[in-house]
Subunit: 350 residues, 4 copies
């Protein structure tokens, strides 16, 4: 950590900063410059809170050189973490699973059909929301516990593991009874109570990047999960807020190699929310794999025109089959392969 | 709601859109244009979910003409809502309360001293966090229930009403036992489970704008509170994410007159988080009042250099007194006045 | 300047960084940390280009401690710069000039009437575009040289000094013959050829912040003008790009006290472009003055319904008179006053 | 174009809007809704300026249904435009050219060596700046005319066509004498005088997206070039401003399929500026091709540690060779191929 003093800071102000650093238990190393003096804090293991230093007289800025996270970093664990949500469905290794399914679970017929279509096309896991965070209180909020039961049924019918979202503490316990991987949505990325609760449940977690989250913020939120003892964490890029209304979000694919260099955790991409436009899901799914994504999360509906939510960005089943074919070609071009659906031969092709 | 068809959409596609609109229970009004056809949906009361229409073939875009919120709007209730959190401390009327206090409750001595300083300078309510959302799991997370007890003590000593944040369902019930106004923080603005829980508690609520929230998003989240029957809602601008690292957030003061025109709810501003820089709090507090804010929420600490969080943006007590003097002059210049601390004569001056 | 090495950088890589710093003519000061080593570059006067250091092996990041600008900074010149564009119309001192007028000069009748309305209401300078940067090549592009002649006529009729924009080298010379202050628009803030040309013309300049410009970027562009020997520079906040479509731009009023602390140059605000909404111009004009702006730049049209550009954000004449009255009250509340129109008694009130 | 009236707009206000639309030469079609009335403007060919309507009493918003551009749109020309800058080097068809070279031309030795390395690795064109837009007036500004002469020499030595930037009118004429394709940089995307000048020069143009430009803004700027009669325009995504400081810009790859659907012009991507990080150029170059880019623009320097600008994001020659190999594999996976350097057999591989 570096404390940059204002131009014209007095010797007494500089000495006070050094004193506070020493009181905090670290070494202080002042470094006079041509324009201003900087005081280095030496010994930071990533857990120093700089706000006390920012408050001192004569301080212009506190610059963090050490990363503010710890257990999620490559410094803590250099090797890639593999997260396995079902036999053969592993994130972070050479094979790449594709998770697909409708935005919401709507009925037995819908979710079982969707699961079959996902599996037949080559998807490795089923997504579908039972608890839905909706911006309007008047919109469909999901089937709740009934939706979870239908997801369990779809798994029995197809063998696909289930990824589904939890919105609150009570829901997290219910979701954990059914899901193979618990999703934390973008709006809850900094809901620290929920992160702590889910961190303790002992299930793999898929953590989506918040709409205003930097990659550092995303890693800090993952740190909450690891601090509770859960290392089975998959990160997910799903687009951030930007100024161009042409897409629902701005899909930040550079975040993938960026985070993979900083952290040992696997990172997947969601081109459905990342673009919000059905006809951009295939090209951007290809791009995500080319950028190095460890998986995809995609919305597909047996009949998007009848979807109760997100119909406009959901793929038709035949489009999903095309997505699998095209991303498989990209994966092979970079020396990886797609994960096969559980229970199928790994060489099966959609 | 207007459904814009793609250039070259077929008659069959246009007819299908009209048919779906009628199936939804509304009237369809096609309007051919020089470049493309638009189909109007007539009869929307603000609760139509357009995603089904977006999914139809040949649809380029769905444009919302009706506002997606209802009970928070001026159309629903033309007159300003007044929110009273203690006798004489009312938001939305001619007098403007200033809420101040430390980021976190740290000790009895600290919070009681802070409360006295707030009151003596002319502040009308005390803020202070017992439950703190921190980006690092290793940072100080607040004193919890003990912090609530200390806030209650500070109220007994000074008469100032208490504004404090709840982070989760369990905490919301505890906070409701003590607080005069429950704060929902920026990171939880779209935590819909928490919004519903707090909406049912029957206490005034201060809802902060999320870092990536549009003003429409903020109003939609407030709609969750009103949909639970709670109309005692104060909105708060506290800065959004932007590209200039010179300030912690980008303080969007235009949001104040914008929201006040669209909604009957009062709106206050938080220049401490809005700027993140102690020496910008006074000028931007003045600017907020000049823009029409119905109150301020400000961080002040008896000794910012010793603060356990947000020391760098907390005012010193004498700076807070200056803030009150200067914002009073601005309030009077626009024909309003500052609310006096409860139990003091309204003409008292700091 | 601080060169932060990657975790695990070798001694040879650190030595190489120090060697390159010394080759550049500065001192190198390595500082080992718990997680990573930082190498300080000592002696930077604000003109070191860090890109060579960024390219070295083992370098994670280059952090700029010295400001990259020089002559615009308070370190270079501690006292406020006053920019006088006509007798009595000075920016940066205790009195605050308001510049107003139509987006475009459209006719003799329009511009002379507008100038009289500006002057009668208490405005101190006339704005109006002769050369207009328009996003569509098919939109009205301004009257050009004829527009400049009409501005000169309006000045003769009212005594108001003229602020008008130049778009290119040829136009800059023509504008300099007529204008009292040459405006550089937001889209040209980083048109360095234009900055250099205008820097040499010896006229006061009003430089608008670009839509994606940080405050540092704005100051760097001003540095181009000062580097050509022109210190008569007024900066202008006019809103930046953000994600909320509710306003045309996001009006960043915190930039005003921020830049005023870093630089000796005066800074004004343009609430017309800053909001893009006529009914937000008055509250945000008040807020700008309360934040400490050294002037306002406002669009007013004798008949906004007939305006050839920006009609929707232009004030009606009676609204402009109200703006002057309300900002005068704010200015007086903070111990400043509005500049009177040239040739009128300073106590005149609109 | 749709004019949305405020809730509570009077019949007279609605009638006035309809009247103004008819005065403008179009048909007006009022459509009453449950919450508010909308008035459609029928007959817009993409050139209606809505600002006059925005100014009318009772108008809440003007919504553009027609695109504001014309000649760049697929409605104007459905088939892809092919832009050929040298024999065999065509953008917009099945083969994909890679343009590479240093940020700045620095010396004969440097640029000729760079050109050979580009060609030997499989690049199809040479980039290199003679006129450099630099944020600091004290940074190296390019070799100017001497730099152009060195580029011409490098072309004679290698056969590679030249892409280089023009900053102003005078420079544009000089650049046109040498370059095979004139680049307009991000900072000048809305420098309309420069767009008009370059539009008249009759040379292929590469137009980079501005840092705050929406995809619509980019297409509007291209419209300026086409309006001058030049259809040989290549668009370029190079990253936009966002809130995460981890990368220099936010590389918006979704813009590629988005623009390709709206426009017939080819679109390339610049992963060097798009990320600002050398080790992200290869994965994001692969991702750009997977998303459908019609070419790449990449910074490569024979010795990045000695580069006079952008050293930190420039590839080493062996990294560039790897980029070519990996993007070739991606191109083939989606049924395209890389363009060979001019004069070599198309099957040559780097």
């Amino acid at each position: 950590m570096l404390v940059v003093m204002e131009h014209g800071a007095t010797d007494a102000q500089i000495a006070r900063v050094a004193e506070v650093i020493r009181e905090m238990g670290y070494q202080a190393r002042p470094m006079p410059g041509a324009q201003r003096t900087t005081v280095g804090l030496v010994g930071n293991d990533g857990r120093v809170d700089g706000s006390q230093l920012e408050a001192l007289d004569g301080v212009a800025e506190v610059i963090h050189v050490s990363k503010p996270y710890k257990q999620v970093s490559r410094e803590w664990k250099p090797d890639d973490t593999l997260v396995t949500i079902a036999p053969g469905v592993t994130f972070g290794g050479p094979t790449i699973p594709i998770i697909a399914g409708p935005c919401s679970v709507e009925s037995e017929e819908q979710i079982v059909l969707a699961a079959r279509q996902v599996r037949d096309a080559g998807g490795a896991a089923l997504r579908g929301g039972a608890f839905k965070p909706r911006s309007s209180p008047y919109s469909f909020q999901g089937l709740g516990r009934e939706g979870l039961a239908l997801l369990a049924l779809a798994r029995r019918e197809t063998g696909l593991p289930i990824v589904t979202e939890a919105l609150d503490e009570d829901g997290a316990h219910r979701v954990a009874e059914v899901a193979d991987c618990i999703q934390i949505g973008a709006r809850n990325m900094q809901n620290y109570s929920l992160l702590r609760t889910i961190g303790r449940l002992g299930k793999p977690v898929l953590l989506k990047r918040g709409m205003a989250a930097t990659t550092t913020d995303l890693l800090m939120s993952a740190e909450y999960l690891l601090a509770e003892g859960n290392t089975q964490v998959i990160l997910c890029e799903r687009g951030i807020r930007s100024f161009d209304p042409a897409t629902r979000n701005l899909f930040d694919l550079t975040a993938i190699p960026l985070v993979q260099k900083l952290s040992h955790l696997p990172m997947v991409a969601d081109p459905s929310h990342g673009t919000g436009l059905r006809d951009k899901v295939i090209p951007m799914g290809r791009a995500a794999i080319a950028a190095g994504a460890d998986g995809l999360l995609v919305e597909m509906h047996p009949n998007p025109e009848k979807a109760m939510s997100d119909g406009g960005q959901s793929l038709f089943p035949d489009q999903f089959a095309r997505l699998v074919r095209e991303t498989r070609a990209i994966a092979e071009a970079i020396g990886r392969s797609l994960a096969a659906p559980p229970g199928t031969a790994p060489s099966a092709r959609g």
